[in-house]
């Protein structure tokens, strides 16, 4: 038996290698032959009007079925290029990359860890900041007006790997939202301080706001299951911290929200409320869907996990459920001023495939096209909305999609409209105006004006230690914070224990690296 097994093992390995060897080596040829960019790479030929071939996939969420759509032809004509349409979805994109199929323009929704890995593996191109500034002047001006440090995100091992991206909505905060009818019944307005907030919780819990004679309502619950950074974020913000963000400490170093004293104090308050029965104990298993359900079916009276654009879209749902939402602002607490948590405007940059590093003509062409896609009104309108009069029309200065294009995604893709050819869709400052009809602008104004937000001081930054330790550190934190919140007034000891463990399990390394990177960036700005 044992002999048979060994023999089998050897035979199978031999068989496998023979077969692998016999089949052609498509798995390990360099991208030049498997990606479809091999064509007229001669620099001189661009002058001779030979269209440059670009392998394109601006988005994995909206991929046109056919080639030669209206938008594709429009762009090809305008820029004298030829697109090769790379097709993938979120789940198979990485597999395609792994098998050597690398596009010229990557989808806009890449994660930062992938960016680091791909940079180190030579999958994506490093592009100099000067060159981007030279060929994308309008776009760069826009981005720097939001955050001049947007360049920091794309730096891996000292080189820049992409075109910076910002998301305006990201700079707005999470909006505390209350059930208006319940506030009226309790005779209070939207809370503005932590004390008023606690009052709200007490009344929503004890005074039967839904009038059904049972004590079955709570002030609030939380996203304990699927988004810990948003759990009780309003309260933590009142202390000036978010347990899952990096923060600058008084001495100029970087500290992690979860090990700060502020987080501990905030957790103590939450624990007190929990012990008093004011918080829905099922916050531990609630996720976004359940929270929405609870708010809409009048089980909880407060929700804090939406940004203004989510709320804008939910107005009809609230109306249907006979809830009048009251939008609050940040709570005044020990931080000294009302603060709200935000995700930050910085996003992972737009990446290009490594093969364009060597192809100057193509690279420059791509940068030029991207600049226009983001900042040129006509081009933006065409790629995102289509043809005026046919797929959209201008109402009150803002383009509005017409039926049937408005509700039929397949029809839109049939024209090539969307993020696939314009990876800057809804991410470009100059053309942002096209997505903001007056009522949405007003809504945003009402909800976010005069709000100060806190965000992760480093943004989506590359850190080696993050890749190594974060999976564990975050799990550790999730566990300890949950324990602390439901404990019997033992927050101090539990979180002190947590801090020690966190630092030991790699947290100290993370802080050291984060501080180093942060201080380097500060210095570079002098």
């Amino acid at each position: 038996m044992k002999k048979g097994f060994k023999f089998t093992l050897v035979l199978s390995l031999v068989l496998s290698m023979v077969i692998a060897g016999c089949s052609s080596n498509s798995g390990n040829t360099p991208p030049a032959s498997t990606s479809k960019t091999n064509s007229t790479n001669n620099q001189a030929t661009t002058e001779n009007e030979e269209p440059i071939e670009i392998t394109m996939i601006g988005s994995t969420w909206e991929v046109p079925e056919e080639d030669g759509t209206f938008v594709q032809q429009y762009l090809e004509e305008k820029f004298n290029v030829k697109f090769v349409n790379y097709r993938a979805n979120d789940e198979n994109f990485k597999v395609q990359i792994a098998s050597g199929e690398i596009p010229d323009i990557f989808p806009h929704n890449i994660g930062e860890a992938d960016m680091v890995n791909w940079a180190r593996q030579g999958v994506i191109a490093s592009i100099s900041v000067e060159e981007i500034k030279q060929y994308m002047p309008n776009y760069v001006a826009d981005v720097e007006s939001i955050d001049p440090n947007a360049w920091d995100i794309g730096i891996v091992d000292g080189k820049n790997y992409g075109i910076p991206r910002v998301w305006l909505n990201g700079s707005t905060g999470f909006i505390p939202t209350y059930n208006g009818e319940w506030l009226d019944k309790a005779g209070i307005g939207a809370p503005t301080t932590l004390e008023e907030f606690e009052q709200m919780l007490v009344k929503f819990r004890n005074d039967d706001p839904d009038g059904n004679g049972q004590q079955d309502t709570y002030g609030m619950t939380g996203r304990g299951k699927d988004a810990r950074a948003q759990l009780f974020n309003t309260v933590y913000a009142a202390y000036g911290v978010n347990p899952y963000h990096f923060k600058e400490a008084a001495d100029g170093t970087i500290i992690w929200g979860g090990i700060t004293d502020e987080a501990k104090e905030a957790t103590k308050l939450i624990n007190k409320w929990y012990r008093e029965g004011l918080i829905d104990p099922e916050f531990m298993t609630d996720d976004n869907g359940l929270i929405g359900q609870k708010f809409n079916s009048k089980k909880v009276g407060f929700i804090e996990t939406n940004m203004y654009h989510h709320l804008y879209g939910q107005q009809q749902t609230f109306a249907e459920n006979e809830i009048t939402p009251v939008y609050g602002k940040g709570l005044l607490g020990p931080a000294g001023k009302p603060l709200q948590m935000s995700n930050g405007a910085l996003q992972v940059p737009l990446l290009l495939g490594s093969q364009v590093e060597k192809d100057d003509a193509k690279r420059i062409k791509i940068l030029q096209i991207l600049n226009e896609l983001a900042t040129n009104d006509e081009i933006y309108l065409t790629t995102v909305f289509g043809q005026e009069g046919e797929t959209y029309e201008i109402q009150d200065g803002v383009p509005v999609l017409l039926e049937p294009y408005a509700s039929d995604g397949d029809l839109r893709l049939g024209k090539g409209i969307g993020g696939y050819y314009n990876p800057f869709i809804e991410r470009a400052v100059s053309t942002w105006k096209f997505h903001m009809p007056q009522d949405r602008l007003d809504f945003k104004e009402q909800l976010t004006a005069d709000s100060e937000v806190i965000a992760d001081v480093l943004g989506p930054t590359v850190l080696d230690s993050k890749a190594k330790y974060f999976a564990n550190l975050n799990a550790l934190q999730d566990e300890y914070f949950t324990k602390a919140i439901i404990s019997n007034d033992e927050v101090d000891s539990i979180l002190d224990d947590f801090k020690a463990q966190w630092l030991k399990a790699g947290g100290q390394d993370v802080l050291d690296e984060a501080t180093k990177v942060y201080q380097e960036r500060q210095a570079a700005r002098q």
């Binding site: 498509s26 979120d90 789940e91 939910q314």
Partner: protein
């Protein structure tokens, strides 16, 4: 033979117990179907859903009017029917020889097949292989790479082994070769197991989505489960979810429920038809005959 009182009591208790069990089993289905017919606020209500307190057909209208749902349905049916037949056929060809104890080097061949149940190259080499064989974006990629599910094949093999050898010996004396024996004698005796494996394979095909995600880019060749995931899991199918540009989410729960129901119904309908193969004493007759 008259049933005794003890016997009747036993049957009575049995029926009660099994009924309770069935109620518990069937609840998820009732819950989901109820939500699919619910109005938005009813769908959001926490707690038991035995029937919709407010009926709303919008979710079903939306789902059934999506042509991709039907395209997916068609592809799934193709894959399931063709795939199951081919699998049963090829699997029998593989299991039968391995079930004959006199097959030279039988252990060796079984071993190299068993080995593949535990060790595989992984996603990337398989992806490359599929590309190599030109199966990318073809309906056959649903069937050929998964043609022989080894677990099922081994179960079939063991079943073949349990058939008394006298049957085979008799046929050989009559001059039949192995192939005829397999198809004319062994397989008919194996109906219950074949029915079970057919069900396993069919359900496997019906529920598959990963290969669809990986190898198919042409939406017209996608399977139902792929679209189901877009609607229920990844939430990326904005349009079926009834979101217009404004972003209205109110029918989301009901639509998800309707899609899930739609995907499950065909299977629930198929099993009763297979039950006739699970008949007692199929094997006994042949020996006596």
């Amino acid at each position: 033979m008259k049933a005794t009182i003890g016997e009747n009591i036993f049957q009575f208790i049995l029926i009660i117990v099994i009924s309770l069990l069935c109620i518990v089993m069937i609840y998820p289905f009732i819950h989901i179907v109820s939500i699919s017919f619910s109005s938005p606020s009813e769908a959001l209500r926490l707690g038991f859903h035995l029937y919709p307190k407010e009926i709303d057909m919008t979710a079903w209208n939306l789902v059934l009017s999506q042509k991709k749902i039907w395209i997916g349905f068609g592809n799934s049916v193709f894959r399931t029917v063709v795939g199951t037949f081919l699998t049963l056929f090829i699997m029998s060809l593989c299991a039968y020889p391995l079930s004959r104890k006199y097959l030279p080097h039988r252990t060796f061949y079984t071993m190299i097949i068993l080995f593949t149940m535990f060790f595989g190259g992984g996603i990337i080499p398989t992806y490359l292989l599929i590309k190599e064989l030109d199966l990318m974006n073809s309906l056959w990629v649903y069937i050929v790479p998964g043609l022989i599910p080894t677990f099922s094949m081994l179960v079939l093999r063991n079943f073949f082994m349990s058939i008394p050898t006298e049957i085979e010996e008799c046929s050989k004396i009559d001059g039949a070769n192995d192939i005829r024996i397999l198809f004319q004698i062994i397989l008919p005796l194996s109906k219950p197991v074949l029915a079970t494996l057919a069900l396993w394979t069919a359900v496997g095909h019906w529920n598959s989505w990963f290969d669809a995600v990986l190898y198919i880019s042409d939406q017209s060749k996608q399977v139902l489960q792929f679209f189901l995931r877009e609607i229920v899991v990844t939430n990326t199918d904005a349009e079926t979810l009834g979101r217009s540009v404004v972003g209205n989410l109110k029918y989301e729960s009901a639509i998800k429920a309707a899609t899930v129901t739609f995907a499950i119904l065909p299977i629930l309908v198929v099993y009763p038809f297979l039950q006739k193969y699970f008949v007692k004493g199929t094997m006994i007759g042949s020996l006596k005959g």
